[in-house]
């Protein structure tokens, strides 16, 4: 019993310590934003690298999710004779929820884990210490551009996911199941609001991008610098990111669409 309590206590202290170190790291990364403004190329490089890693998987997933939505939506809506609103249903659920959330989950699995492994290996092979001894701050030079790149890239990727998802839904609904083409788009234009739906969805995506990348760079920077340590950190990145995204999504949905 005592032992259980003790190990619970130790886990608790470990978790609090981890959050504290992640917070300290975040402040240190913010301190590098100013320098980054003077060297935008570093940022462009990272956005590009995240983009090339994730674009294909996100485009394909978007298409498939949209097609499944089109099918399900059609079966349910047609029971009420409301299949004309299929476009609204598909696009609203994509831009508000599925686009940002699924993009973030895929991003964590593909780009986040790669980020953790990259930084963890740089630590294990003394590259980070080497930077420090060359009078280059590794947090500002390596971590800050990657954090900001995640915040920028995720909304773009989420937009791509939703766009292809709508196309997938359109193909199934209009192309295969015979929903009227004009109504599909007209209803969508009339009911999906630019600010309420699209912008809020993109804000969600940016928040998820921030959370996932913060977790990924922290796990890499804080890992035990051995091959086993790096692989554990990579797993933690995916698990913690998924939980963070799903949890944050509830909060953001309540705030944005609650009334």
């Amino acid at each position: 019993m005592i032992r259980v309590l003790a190990s619970l206590g130790r886990a608790g202290i470990g978790a609090v310590g981890g959050v504290g170190r992640a917070g300290v790291l975040l402040v240190a990364m913010f301190a590098g934003l100013w320098e980054l403004l003077k060297r935008p190329l570093l940022l462009v490089e990272q956005v590009y690298s995240v983009g090339t890693l994730t674009m294909v998987i996100i485009a394909v997933s978007g298409l498939f999710v949209g097609m499944a939505l089109g099918l399900q939506g059609f079966y349910i809506l047609s029971q009420f004779g409301a299949e004309a609103t299929l476009g609204v249903m598909v696009s609203a659920s994509l831009v508000r929820e599925l686009g940002p959330v699924l993009t973030a989950l895929l991003f964590a699995g593909r780009a986040g884990s790669a980020l953790t492994a990259e930084i963890g290996l740089m630590k294990a092979t003394e590259q980070l210490a080497g930077l420090e001894m060359m009078a280059v701050n590794p947090i500002r030079r390596v971590l800050t551009p990657r954090l900001l790149a995640g915040v920028i890239a995720l909304p773009l990727l989420a937009a791509l996911f939703s766009a292809l998802g709508v196309l997938g839904g359109w193909y199934v609904g209009v192309g295969l199941l015979g929903v009227d083409d004009g109504t599909f788009w007209a209803q969508m234009q009339a009911k999906v609001d630019w600010y309420d739906d699209v912008i809020n969805g993109l804000i969600k995506a940016a928040v998820f991008g921030f959370a996932c990348t913060w977790i990924a760079v922290y796990q890499g920077y804080d890992c035990v610098p051995t091959s086993e340590g790096v692989s554990r950190a990579t797993t933690r990145t995916v698990v913690h990111s998924a939980l963070a995204v799903l949890g944050l999504n509830v909060v953001l949905t309540a705030l944005m669409f609650g009334n």
Binding site: T125, A129, G130, E132, M133, M134, A135, V136
Partner: protein
């Protein structure tokens, strides 16, 4: 030691450092003379790498001071510490090259980060530095394509790219074949004398380190156990020093990690 105060580049006083509750250094005093090659030797695990990290300001001592060129490393602001580090090169045991950059870009890295030089100037400097380590022809290679010895020479070229006042070598000779060992020994000496550097080398490779060092410190059990001119120590050092330098298994330096008698371990029944 008979060096005048301004002849000392690195001055360490009363250095104490702990890893958790383990004492790594306990009252270490050292004076590293300017313009010379100083070797710091000791068995593996005595804290030689740790000492270099303390000098470079990557670790903080629990007590005592480390002064480099008159500045207390651990009292400097971050900016001042980074400015000081630009004048200190460090050669890591692994080389620590940036794996996503070519040999050329690795050597160019500190120049691009810290100087406003044009690309054509940087190109010339990088080629000169690579020429000095004999790897000008390897400039297009990636670090993964280099042998261990080559990687260390590239790292050396990078470490001297900004023309530092001192350079620290962490075990420069381990894992080198006899030829690249000889090349490195020569290079270190040449760099030291031609560029008027101060070299600090930590090593357990007694023969090689001893052969180029002007001054030797011997560390053990968290203390400096002996020091002096390289040539003198092998003759007149303590029993401990002579055993260490000759590498004989018998003597005051135990080969075995502390343990109970072998028989007890062998006869123990596993419950």
């Amino acid at each position: 030691m008979s060096t005048a105060p301004d002849e000392v580049l690195v001055r360490i006083r009363g250095l104490r450092f702990l890893r958790g509750s383990r004492v790594i250094f306990d009252g270490v005093d050292m004076d590293i003379p300017r313009g010379k090659v100083t070797a710091i030797m000791g068995p593996s695990g005595t804290g030689k790498t740790t000492l270099l990290k303390l000098i470079g300001g990557q670790l903080r001592p629990d007590a005592g001071t480390v002064e480099v060129d008159g500045q207390d490393v651990h009292k400097l602001s971050t900016d001042a510490l980074y400015a000081l580090r630009m004048r200190m090169g460090m050669l890591f045991q692994s080389g620590a090259l940036l794996t996503d950059l070519s040999v050329f870009d690795n050597v160019a890295f500190p120049l691009r980060e810290h100087t406003g030089l044009t690309e054509s100037m940087i190109r010339k400097l990088v080629l000169l530095k690579l020429e000095a380590v004999g790897l000008r022809g390897a400039r297009e290679l990636m670090p993964a394509e280099l042998s261990g010895g080559m990687a260390r020479r590239v790292a050396l070229a990078r470490a001297v790219a900004l023309d530092p006042m001192m350079i620290m070598y962490d075990e420069p000779f381990t894992g080198q074949d006899p030829i690249s060992m000889g090349v490195l020994v020569k290079l270190i000496r040449q760099l030291n004398d031609a560029a008027r550097l101060t070299s600090v080398m930590v090593s357990h490779d007694v023969a090689e380190a001893g052969s180029i060092a002007d001054h030797v410190y011997i560390l053990s059990g968290g203390k400096v156990v002996d020091q002096g001119l390289a040539a003198d120590l092998a003759q007149h050092g303590s029993d401990w020093t002579r055993q260490f330098l000759k590498g004989s298994p018998d003597g005051p330096v135990p080969f075995h990690y502390q343990a109970r008698p072998l028989v007890d371990d062998l006869l123990e029944r596993t419950a």
